[in-house]
């Protein structure tokens, strides 16, 4: 071989590396081979690169340390533990369901029924006595179809990993077909009604007019002087019913007046409501100011959450009310359960059942008031942090234990997702930012969805999932705090231990006076954001970053891998 004195014609390093790596096409490889036969420098570099490759491979393949026992035992541990973990988890889950039912669902159902949400309303129809239990022959109503479709869709989403693609598509198309049978919601344009202006801001059902369908309305003023033979759903600044509604009146607005006749239930949120007419069934209202006038009559129960509540008229059954200030001068056919700052019962009042009041001061009961039994008064307690009793701390411990159990169940059921969530939580900015968005956005969106009939199930389901996620935020943040203290781990019980330690610390910190509330809010936001981020990442394909390229090197075309290296 000749000594190379043609320095300017040396091959560059990338070409030689690609030659060593067998990435050059045959023609270029032959040129490289020829060149290295006449150029010592390039040949030496070629050999050095080849030896470097061997050194790298040898270094990487050397078994320099034994396999950690943790890795060796990982599978066995998981296998062994799963048998009884599943038993524990199943038992805890049963216990949780029982506690949830007896502690929350059953009392709420009872309360709902007392407030008139019996078997005819949508929610109870869906959840407690609807399509799940009745059998196929009765599943022909629109609501049940929608409910079943939604539930089926949700199940498909959850089980998508286990369903074959064809099956999933079949279910999807079946669901869509079922959605097609749903009639389009009726709009004001469908009726012969007078629109006050072109922008459909107000709607009037004239005195002699009868609508034989449900009425949906969104605008500034809804006035019903005639008859709506169905339900009325309204989002309006003002709702004025002087005529008749044979179904329910559901509303969201600023001001509502009912001087006519509603044969169903009245439920809604508004700034103020005045009832001077007749509601045959139940009234559930959330207002600043609510007034049942002396001529007003409610056939069944009244459930009210108000700043000021005045009952001058008649309520056929029970009254459940929370308020700042209330005056009762009319008749209550059933029991009164009231909670608020002050209550006055006028001499004209009559309460046929028991009367209980929890307030800041005893109720002012006029001497002429007719009460079936003496009013039972209890002082409303406003405890400061300094006055917290042992019960408060016991409940804190109980809740902490509940959260740890929830974490145990969640990590057992979804170990990978649990770890992904904790890792997402360590992306502080992203999780906090997304947390703020989800915390407010999802809550508002689900409430808006609940306003529409079709969206009710979706709205309620979303809201419950949101609540569960908020409750689970302690587990996520606890897990991260535990990792900060004891370090990272992927083993089950050490992970549970870290989570439990973290949850205890978080519960203690949020119990601090003054700042505890803010920290709790931060925990909700952070945990919710981490859960959302983990879900988002699961739904996204992994995107590798673009790496800046480097100019140079004859590597423009894809190269066949099996080009041979010439003997040096």
């Amino acid at each position: 071989m000749n000594d190379s004195n043609t320095t300017n014609q040396h091959l560059d390093e990338i070409t030689l590396l690609l030659y060593v790596e067998r990435q050059l096409d045959r023609q270029i490889a032959q040129q490289v081979s020829l060149h290295t036969q006449t150029c010592d420098r390039c040949l030496t570099l070629l050999r050095a690169l080849d030896r470097e490759s061997r050194l790298l491979t040898r270094s990487m393949l050397e078994a320099d340390e034994p396999l950690p026992s943790r890795i060796a035992e990982f599978h066995q541990k998981v296998k062994r533990s799963m048998h009884w973990i599943w038993g524990v988890v199943f038992g805890l889950a049963l216990l949780g369901v029982y506690a949830l039912y007896t502690g929350y669902i059953d009392p709420w159902v009872e309360q709902f029924e007392q407030a008139g949400f019996g078997g005819t309303n949508l929610l109870s129809l869906l959840l407690f006595q609807g399509a799940f239990w009745k059998g196929w022959q009765s599943m022909f109503t629109l609501v049940e179809l929608v409910a079943m479709t939604s539930v089926a869709g949700f199940c498909v989403f959850l089980l998508r990993k286990y369903l074959k693609r064809g099956t999933a598509l079949a279910v999807l198309f079946a669901s869509m077909s079922m959605l097609l049978v749903i009639p389009r919601p009726l709009h004001a344009q469908d009726f012969h009604v007078d629109m006050k202006d072109d922008k459909h801001k107000s709607l009037e059902v004239k005195k002699d007019e009868v609508l034989h369908k449900d009425l949906y309305f969104a605008g500034s003023l809804l006035r019903i002087d005639g008859t709506v033979d169905g339900d009325v759903y309204a989002i309006a600044q003002e709702v004025d019913v002087t005529g008749t509604v044979t179904g329910d009146l559901i509303f969201l607005g600023r001001s509502t007046r009912i001087s006519g006749h509603v044969e169903g239930n009245v439920r809604g949120f508004s700034n103020n409501i005045s009832i001077t007419g007749v509601v045959d069934k139940n009234v559930t209202i959330f207002n600043e100011d609510a007034r049942i006038d002396s001529s007003g009559k409610i056939g069944h129960s009244l459930t009210a959450f108000n700043q000021i509540l005045t009952i001058d008229g008649t309520v056929g059954r029970d009254v459940l009310a929370m308020f700042n200030e209330a005056t009762i001068a009319g008749t209550i056919g059933g029991n009164l359960r009231a909670k608020g700052a002050s209550l006055s019962i006028a001499s004209s009042a009559q309460i046929n059942g028991t009367a209980k009041f929890e307030g800041d001061k005893p109720a002012d009961v006029a001497s002429g008031a007719k009460l079936a039994s003496p009013l039972q008064y209890s002082k409303l307690e406003h405890r400061s942090h300094a006055e917290r009793g042992a019960g408060f701390y016991i409940w804190r411990i109980v809740w902490a234990a509940a959260r740890i159990l929830l974490g145990l169940v969640l990590i057992s059921l979804m170990p990978i997702f649990a770890r992904e969530t904790m890792e997402s939580a360590e992306r502080y900015g992203a999780s906090l930012g997304l947390g703020v968005l989800v915390f407010f956005g999802v809550a508002i969106a689900s409430l808006i969805a609940c306003i529409t009939v079709v969206g009710l199930l979706v709205g309620v389901s979303t809201f419950f999932l949101w609540l569960i996620a908020v409750f689970s935020s302690y587990v996520v943040v606890g897990g991260v705090v535990g990792r900060w203290i004891l370090g990272r781990t992927s083993e089950f019980w050490p992970l549970i231990g870290r989570m439990a330690l973290g949850v205890l610390i978080v519960v203690l910190v949020v119990a601090l006076p003054h700042i505890g509330g803010w920290i709790r809010f931060g925990v909700w936001i952070w945990g919710l954001g981490a859960i959302s981020l983990a879900i988002y990442r699961r739904l996204q394909p992994v995107i590798a970053p673009n790496i800046p390229s480097m100019p140079g090197g004859p590597i423009g075309t894809p190269l066949p891998p099996n080009t041979t290296i010439s003997p040096a």
């Binding site: 270094s59 990487m60 396999l67 890795i71 781990t489 590798a544 673009n546 800046p548 480097m550």
Partner: protein, 202 residues
């Protein structure tokens, strides 16, 4: 145990434990355990080379196998199982490294556009002769995420340029550049004696 390198197991059906895979896919925990025992050491060593600490490698190995358990149904049996396994492992490790990139890789990004000087061949030879496997492994720890990942994928698991390009998210023609730059970084890290610091990108 000699690590299973996909480049050495290219013939489908001959060296792949297809029966075990089929049983594991059907939910047989015993088969899954056998697969784990067979492949976990190689995957752990891959992670050990690719990630900064032993704990990270242990965590990653277990996470990869948990992930594999879910993904096993997606495995195409007409292709190399080992190659698929390494691909999943590489994606997982790269994902971890990307999450920590701000601490380590940023510095490397700053110098990545600098031109590379060709090494002096004799100096390079001397450097290679004098360095041991242990020194190379220690030097690996000093590399940026991308450089380290590229070297491990190529020289530990024998992944092809296409597979490396796919995992790192670069176009295939630039894999050689990434590897060359990684080698320069490695030489720099190995060159404790400034005289041995050949070429270099800094």
């Amino acid at each position: 145990m000699e690590p299973l390198r996909p480049g050495h197991l290219r013939v489908p059906g001959q060296t792949e434990p297809l029966d075990l895979i089929a049983q594991a896919r059907a939910g047989d925990t015993q088969a899954w355990g056998d697969l784990y025992r067979e492949y976990a050491p190689a995957i752990f060593r891959f992670c050990r080379r690719a990630l900064p600490s032993k704990e990270d490698a242990e965590d990653a190995t277990m996470e990869i196998f948990m992930k594999l358990r879910d993904k096993l149904v997606q495995y195409d049996t007409s292709r190399s199982f080992t190659a698929w396994l390494y691909k999943v492992a590489a994606n997982h490790c790269w994902d971890i490294l990307r999450r920590h990139k701000a601490r380590h890789d940023k510095n490397m990004e700053d110098v990545n556009d600098l031109p590379l000087e060709a090494p002096e061949p004799n100096q390079l030879e001397r450097l290679i002769e004098e360095r041991t496997g242990e020194q190379v492994r220690k030097a690996l720890d000093k590399l940026g995420a991308r450089a380290r990942m590229a070297l491990v994928m190529r020289y530990y698991s024998d992944m092809s340029y296409d597979e490396i390009a796919d995992a790192l998210g670069v176009r295939r023609p630039f894999v050689g550049v990434v590897l060359l730059r990684a080698r320069h970084d490695l030489r720099q890290a190995l060159g404790e004696d400034p005289a041995l610091a050949v070429g270099g990108s800094r």
